[in-house]
Amino acid sequence: MLFLELQKIKNKKWMFACLLLGAVLLFASAVSFPIYRTAVLDRMLDDQFSESYTENGEWPMQMKFYFQVGKSGNMSGLASKEEGVRSAYSSIGVPEYRTIYYYSTIGTEAEPELSRGEDAEISLRVAMLTDLDQHIDIIDGTLWQDEDPGDSTLDVIVSEETFLASEMIIGDVFAFPLLSPNVKDPIRLRVVGVFDVSDPSDSYWQKDTRMFTNTIFVRSDQFLDYFVNNPDRPKFSINCNIYDQFDYMSVDASEAADISAATDRYLNGQYGPLTSRPGFMDVLDKHESSRRRISVSLLLLEIPLLLLLAAFILMISGQLYSMEENEISMYKSRGASSGQIFILYLLQSVIIAVIASCIGVPIGMFVCRGLGSASSFLEFGIRRELDIRFTEEAFMYALVSAIVCIMIMTLPSIGASRLTIVGAKRGGAKGKKALWEKFYLDFLFLGISIYGYYNFSHHTNDLLESALKGESLDPLLYFSSSLFILGAGMLLIRLRPLIVKGVFFLGKRFFRPASYAAMLESIRSARSQQYISLFVILTVALGMFDAVSARTILENSLANTSYIDGTDIRFREIWYDNSSSRQFDPSIEFKYYEPDYSDYAGFTKFTDGYTRVYLEDGYLKNGSSGRDVVSIMGIHTKEFGTITDVDDSLLNTPYRQLLNDLALAPKGVLLSANFRDSMGMAIGDRITFYDKNSSSADATIVGFFEYWPGYEPVSREINASGDIVETSNYMIVANYSFVRKKFGLQPYYVWMGLSEGESADGFYEWVAESGTPLTYMSDRTKDLEKTVEDPLLQGMNGILTMSFIVMLILCAAGYLIYWVLSIKAREMMLGVLRAMGLHSTEMIGMLSVEQAICGLYSVIAGAAVGFIAYTLFVPMLQTAYSSSAQVLPLVMIREPSDMVKLFVSIGLMLIVSIFVLTIIIKKQNMIRALKLGEE
């Protein structure tokens, strides 16, 4: 049987190659989804942890435990508590990265051997910090000795802060009678070194400034021997701080929910009271919410592709089956049972599925790398690679794909389906209507999709709400657009014969023989071409829809990020003030020390300009006691205008004109338009506004703006009851000199616009070289990169791109095989035409006209459907994908290059098809063709 099957495959190698192609693509697509999703979610979790690390300056996944022991002298509880703290790793299920023990005595009297005078009282804490010596630099003296000193004097090291505050010197010895078993012979500690932290950003260090204050550090083993485990120790408390640092890099995104639940259980357990809710729970919860949204959204995007692949396999296997009907009847006539024939086809399906899985799974993994670099539709520009690995979930997907694939391929053999690309020719010739045509599924799909459109267009707030809540995309929204494309595509296929008949009727007198024959052939074979036409229409329409969706969602997000940032780089240095001097003399007026602005002169090498921007919250008085919070921005209009821009289409008054109006009015202000609308203000009105210190400024309104660099007119939030709450944000823009005069010297931001082709590297080098401490920094290039790498956006770009490429392959393969089989089936008729004197060029012309009617019509129909689909549905999809950060109005983006790529791809497919058919026609032997009819 196997030999028979292999022979069969050999004899119909092109059909089997096509079937294999569909199966390979099914495996690759199915497997790539979980692999890609896992990789992108893992990266997202890593990013979320890294973000938390950057924001909080602490190891992003750690639990802090605090408890006291020894107050009663009994230390027996320590071991069990330590054990309980350590059990957090196993309970939560994340491996240990590092556990840091910081134990200290309470502050206690230290008697220096070197007298400090009569009044000098020194209180010190003796402490241990595990692995301290590996994270510090000794800046004076030495580190403690490794061996125990013979004279019962322990070596200690101290921070510079303690060293100076306690006026210590290297070699100072302190006695601690209250901590010693024998007061007369107290434990003595000798200061042998002063340390500074090697790297303040080291995750070893905790944000606990008291850690080094009045604290002296002794070797951990000595601390335990002398102050904890010493059976003769007096009664004093030990403060125990234990930091469990988890190896967050080993956490898979799929484990996030389990870890979160396990942490909850741990917190509610015996040792929960020793700690508080760790910060990583917020990271995990946020991740879980994003994970659900991303998983569902990506799956929704992938489903149409998987269905198309399944349909493709079904069609090809149906065709294969119809080609083999004679063979099957021959087997039956020779005594083969239906069961045996079924097993033969099952065997065939298993062979194909096994081969396809061997090829498809590696391709799927390769595809994931491509998806991971998708920066837009059909663009691959992200260099940050994903960690692609074959997961257990991917194996399950592969297994399910194999079962589905085998079922689909075996299905036609039991006569369950006759749907084929080419096999429908027969049905068409017999005048049989396809099921969808008979049951008017095109009208049904269109009806459902239009219902969906009206439903969503009247409830855009619901979409926004669910997007803001981080809920997953409403499946009906995505299906509405898909159903519309499918329904409209089928309707246009239904209309095609009518249109062709109309054209034929009007032009039949003028057609040359080749066109005449082609038109009639197209009318006759309209039904057999339905499936391939639908593939072309879907490829074009979905391609256009996907391109515009991906481009619109991405470009709007990028434009929004760019707008919110306002310019390329914004930073603020640490501003020092005279508050320390005022502690001694409150009569001194408070003032800031302005950083040296001339330090920025070097920026001119890589920027178009840089400028001071005052940006602080202030207020306006509203009635007798009310206040309206307002953002106050002070700018140098000329410099600001050089490095910022706002699209004039967003403004009632052009941006440059607003800047000019402000420049011409030193005491003028520009107000946000929502201010005008709510307060009923007009140009020329005077207003008084206040900074946070209640210094006031009187100004004249010179203009209003709807949008301004970095300005968010409305912020949206979900309140406790789950409703969207919109808050209007007000803004006043004034001249910097005016603000400074009224509010005094205040810390300002520096905004700079990079020159064409320059990166922010120059700025980073300046920061590194000058050691300038910054309190705020934003880099538009990085923010834009972050936007592009957003898992949802990137996943959407990747899957839409992959879908389009796969559809193009399916479409090309299906189209070509349809035409090759069509030519083969018409070989005798074409021979007759050649015998009647039809030139070979006319023959190619005839087939080209047929292709134009089938292919070109489908392309045009697809383009029309695609255009209507994206016009109707993309705004809704965009709303569903938008975030609370979306400020600018949504603009539909149709990138011409996307359309060029799309139509060039489709055009190439048609050209290749005509080229292959030309070769077949050229190779066709007329006499052999005529003989076919005699066989």
């Binding site: 052939e521 005798m828 030139h839 006499i927 005699e934």
Partner: protein, 228 residues
């Protein structure tokens, strides 16, 4: 007036994996204009090969074929195609109608190919009436019987007023009654429309139907007689 056909020392060899096969081995004969010639022979005798060469579908290995005194063997492919579409009419053994066209469209198609200036519809109706299918004009090929289809094929071969009709086993798939009817139709056309008809057949019963009988055996003419 129909075409005269002169065949001089025509041979046709084919290269096969088993070596050279000579299908025609020096055929010489002539067919007068406005006559109906029956080419008879068993399967493999070379009659279809000879007919293909007369119809400029194939070239002889040696020898010449003159149609109205002009040799088709030296013509360019385009000239031969033009000759086929204007001067010749073909009827094949199997049903050779274009399945996407109905009876009248099939007939008009040959006129369209020949660039006929006549009122195509009128002429098509005329020839379809001639073959007895005036009531089947708008029927599609698959809606007609084999005999009816073959008669449409004859009407198509005739519609553009060719000088020579080449019919390769047109009766092979028909019952004897229908075969005799089709053969009589060819004879009638030859006489009334002034067309030369060359028809191949292996049916002994039809041998007397033509004006001339050429019998082929193993690539040679076994006998050539004018019919009584």
């Amino acid at each position: 007036m129909g075409s005269s056909v002169v065949i001089k020392d025509v041979t046709r060899d084919f290269q096969t994996p088993g070596g050279k096969v000579s299908v025609l081995k020096g055929i010489t004969c002539s067919i007068e204009a406005d006559t109906m010639c029956i080419l008879r022979g068993k399967s493999g005798s070379g009659k279809t090969t000879l007919l293909n060469m007369i119809g400029a579908l194939d070239d002889p290995t040696t020898g010449t074929i003159l149609i109205d005194g002009k040799s088709s063997t030296g013509m360019s492919a385009r000239a031969r195609e033009n000759m086929r579409r204007r001067q010749l009419g073909f009827v094949f053994q199997s049903v050779s109608l274009i399945p996407s066209m109905n009876a009248i469209q099939n007939v008009m198609f040959s006129m369209r190919m020949a660039g006929s200036k006549e009122n195509m519809e009128k002429r098509a109706m005329e020839v379809l009436s001639l073959v007895g299918l005036s009531n089947r004009m708008t029927h599609m090929p698959q809606e007609m019987s084999g005999g009816e289809q073959q008669r449409v094929a004859i009407a198509r071969a005739l519609a553009h007023r060719p000088k020579l009709i080449l019919a390769d086993e047109p009766t092979a798939e028909l019952d004897s009654g229908m075969a005799a009817q089709v053969t009589r139709l060819f004879k009638q056309i030859s006489e009334e429309q002034h067309v030369t008809v060359i028809m191949t057949t292996h049916d002994v019963g039809l041998m007397g139907a033509g004006d001339q009988l050429i019998e082929l055996k193993n690539g040679r003419i076994e006998g050539s007689d004018a019919a009584e």
